[in-house]
């Protein structure tokens, strides 16, 4: 079984209130040296076939259509070794 991972992150210019909440909590807990936090999403997709170029292109299309909103988010698709 091959696993494809899609990472989705808010674009840099878009405010990330969740990341800011996590940053604040880390500071209150005393974790030092952390300058900023941004929170995204990770999708793990299991394939029942070999990850051909066509299948990866299909997953990229799914990521841009549903998994991420390209207006506010960037995404990256990779095959897990």
């Amino acid at each position: 079984m091959t696993r494809v991972v899609v990472d989705v992150m808010p674009k840099q210019e878009i405010l990330d209130p969740q990341g800011q909440a996590v940053l604040g909590a880390l500071g209150r807990l005393g974790f030092a040296g952390i300058a900023s936090v941004r929170q995204g999403k990770r999708f793990e997709i299991e394939l029942d076939a070999e990850p051909t170029t066509e299948i990866i292109a299909e997953i990229e299309r799914a990521a841009g259509t549903l998994l991420a909103n390209p207006v506010i988010e960037d995404f990256a698709v990779r095959v897990e070794p």
Partner: protein, 223 residues
Amino acid sequence: MRIGVITFPGSLDDGDAARAVRLAGGEQVALWHADADLCGVDGVVLPGGFSYGDYLRCGAIARFAPVMGPLVDAARSGLPVLGICNGFQVLCESHLLPGALIRNDHRRFVCRDQRLRVENVSTAWTSAYEPSQEITVPLKNGEGGYVADDRTLDELEASGRVVVRYLVDNPNGSYRNIAGITNARGNVVGLMPHPEHAVDPLTGPTLDGLGFFTSILTTLASA
């Protein structure tokens, strides 16, 4: 005039939207997310709520509901569509309106009566208002921060497509205090505040919201 109100699993304000249509003098038609067509309605309201539990992103799954296929096509051909709160999120996810709604900048749910200025009174849904009229309607959202890139925001402002703007203070971090916008044609309008909750003195803070629902009837009658 027949105005459809679409109910998705998790919609909350479909009942109030239907009631607002009736109080304005229209005939409301209940549409279901799984419907294959729009039953020949003259306009559509996408109501507030938490369609599909807000999973993935608000409106992201509703955008692909069966009824949305014909709705997106019809909206692009000029069918009047009003998206309120979750309905606004669905319109942005559908790319019928630019930008997106994200979590409130202060990270708390906000629920209050909100002062607004109506800045565009030439849309299908706002013709009943006076230019720059100030209104008060309820606002209730956790993910109501309107965001878009600077180029999109500049274009919206320059073309008069900001329909309503927050007054007094910004309740959710929306860029440039934007509460609602329209498409270039003026038939599709989305806003976070809830005009359908301000149509009856028994339950609303004002009757200021009724204008959205009388506007569409006037627009359709003169079409």
